[in-house]
Amino acid sequence: MTIDNTPVELVTLTIDDIEVQVPKGTLIIRAAEQLGVQVPRFCDHPLLDPVAACRACLVEIEGQAKPQPSCAMTVAEGMKVRTQVSSVMADEAQKGVMEFLLINHPLDCPVCDKGGECPLQNQAMTNGRGESRFDGEKREFEKPINVSDRERCVSCARCTRFADQVAGDPMIALLERGSQQQVGISDDQPFDSYFSGNTIQICPVGALTSAKYRFRSRPFDLVSVPTTCEHCASGCSLRTDIRRGNVMRRLAWDDPQVNEEWNCDKGRFAFPYVQEGRLNQPLVRGEDGLLHPASWTEAIDVAAKGLAAASGATAVLAGGRHTVEDAYAISKFARAVLGTDDVDFRSRPHSTEETQFLSSVVAGSGLGVTYADLEKAAHVVLVAFEPEDESPMIQLRLRKAVRRGRTKVTAITSHVTSGNKKLNATVIATAAGHEVSALSELALDANTIILVGERAASVTGLLTAATKKAKESGAKLAWVPRRAGDRGAVDAGLLPGLLPNGNSLTDSSAREKAADIWNVENNTLPFAAGRDFGAIVHAAVNGELKALLITSVDVEDTQHSASTLQAIENTPFVVSLEIRPSSITELANVVLPVAVVTEKSGTFIDWEGRPRNFGQAIREHNKLTDGRVLAMIADAMDVLLGQQDVAQLRAELAQFAAPTNRVDAPSHGADVPNGLTLSTWNQLIDDGALQEGEPFLAATSRNVIAGLNSKTAAAHSIAEGDLIEISTSLGSITVEAIFVDGAENTVWLPTNSGESKVRTNLGAAHGNIVTIKRGGGQ
């Protein structure tokens, strides 16, 4: 981290007769905070531009005839400010404004969601009059927008400024004027923003409420626990509010280094999976071929025996959703207990080039490029990465940087998206699979940051090119994975050939050290690098494996779902650690229920490489972590790993020193596809398994369409709005064609939305060749 040493120019002023020095440009309201003086406020928000819309913060300034809004005025040398503490004028002005604000306010606190945590309620008490003098009729509104109570609105414009400034989705606005002024949307454009939930949180009154949480609870019934979001690698700090063992809601928590005070709607609303449809008991497949509930002792015993019997032909498929502690436990279990290096967390498409890239550049590299770096960079290049869908906090941070006018964004992607429009990005429209030359041609310098996304793995040569480009130009490079556990999995060594913290398995001293830490004989650890996820699946399909341990894998994510299922089916013994029944459950021999993040403590490593620790939010469910379950299986296999609780695993992982011999950086040449290619990534809100059970959230997902360039469409006699069929040898998808401003000879599909199930139906990855044709007309 670099420390900014530029001297700060200070201004001296007095507030309530107390002298205070603050940096030039500080708002009076903030300067007062330094003294512990709380000036009332509604529209003021440190992360939004000042508007002085509500007038709650009036203070007296010597020499000015009228009270002034302290949230919009900056300090000046020698200024004499008097707040309500020492000025009758300020106090009366504030009380007067409060009285005005309450004139049209329904005062329905007893039935309002905000009651008990409401800035209006609180400040009406501290800075208002006890009794209302108003006995006229208050305004009333119908409720066409289902979650808005417009009569409660104090027209502070926080919600509209957030939507416009922070998210770049100005679909809500203050309509009408005077006492009819109200927050609204236009009839034909709903407030479809990935970030809409933030407006609920920052509304200082109960005018915007959550459809899900509405009338459900009271703040004083809730136990609030700081947590980390499990849905992506942005690493948002959240606050999870629990009532009697149930998650009632989740809010964005303030973390200036990471998510500031925001989060996305997925992180906020996608939590019903914690409660609904869980697996609660171990299941063991009986003689009759059916799964039967079993005791833990029995299930662990069967799992241990089965795995032991398969010794020498076992593999581990791990998924990207684990905490780093659990990932480490799995990594260790594979090597030290099963003696296999056939282990990989990358259920989504991947490559050997990526394995090398992750092992050499990412693993154990600690904190690299940070959010703060993004904000300071002169130039940020997005390669095969769509921040709005794949890491929303990067989107917001980049937008903030761009709005300040110091940062410019370039995107190498198939077409102009709504996300990169909001970043004012220069889009280098590049057909999927052709990114290498586009990147190589860019002139970059040391003030540049290159962000490369998950789908780079399926473009041969791209990760090599990105690594080289960064080295040559001095630009910084960061890999932004999509899942919360991806980065931790790399650090934990959940890749073939990779031990924890970037150590190479084939480095004999590193292997010795690992055996030492794990307390096993050196020769029980595998010597040669194993197979990656795809190769494991391939081997299993061919009947080469005797047992599979699967944890946290969604077959819908894998390159070709049918092959993955086939692989599981062809493997004689399968142990599955799961949270909810899935298509894997159907095929497993032993199913062991495990805890979701809310039920355990742990750490996610966000894309920056920053550890995001969190504590256990729900204790009532009594669920075991993956680490604990694996320790029990190991125990039954006569390998003693200890308790493997979270603290122990964390401490043990820390014993792995940084590698002395790093894996070599990848050096793959480009392999440019010849033909029309598929561009694809997952939309933020899609059919992902952890988003189940939240209809309000699902309703905000984007339309499922195929995006293509009009010339490419014309070449295939496709008109806008036509249904088109996109196919590979494995299957096809039929959706509506929409013209996009983008590269020719490429067609975009969301990876896992509605009709567009790319993995299941096409078995394809980003950059693969597909064919398109008109299908079905309008």
Binding site: M171, A173, L175, E176, R177, S186, D188
Partner: protein, 214 residues
Amino acid sequence: MTFTETTWNEAKELAGRYPHSRSALLPMLHLVQSVEGLVSSDGIALCADVLDLATAEVAAVATFYTMYKRHNTGKHHVGVCTNTMCGLLGGDAIWNAISSDLNTGHDETSEDGKITLERIECQAACTHAPVVTLDWEFFDDATVDGVRKALSDLREGKEVKSTRGPVIKGLQASERLLAGFDDDEFDAPAIDEKMLAGLHRAREVGQTLPSSEV
């Protein structure tokens, strides 16, 4: 309704008249109102499209200013200033008279669809109070009888002139002028001595504007 190609082109022309195209929103709303007699959702969508704004942003502006009508209007718009100056000098009486003649209230349209009536705020024309506006052209020093006569002429389709010259052509024509088109088809309103009295007096006593420096 769908707008014609001409309207789309005129809207784009407006957008091109400003360094920041967004500044064209006010005239553009007048333009769509000149076509439809109101700012409909389609009109809002057109502005949003041309200026690359969200429709909510356009709606926020269209609903803020009272000159943009979100409901149908009559052929003519008649505004009666009822602010203090005009109100006291006869504006209230004019309002009461014609509102009951037409059986039409504030921001309503007469049954025959000819007149939309509105109580308006100070037009900065207090010199000639009470003032009435006919399709936003001034009808100075108005009287109940004078306004009654003008309105009945308008309803019968006879020519009516503003006291400052221009012929009253209907709200939609005026909206087009406000949008910044067809300037030359309108007569420039006259300026008279009464309007300049303040200026002359200021010069007499040597008053100037305060310096803009602070």
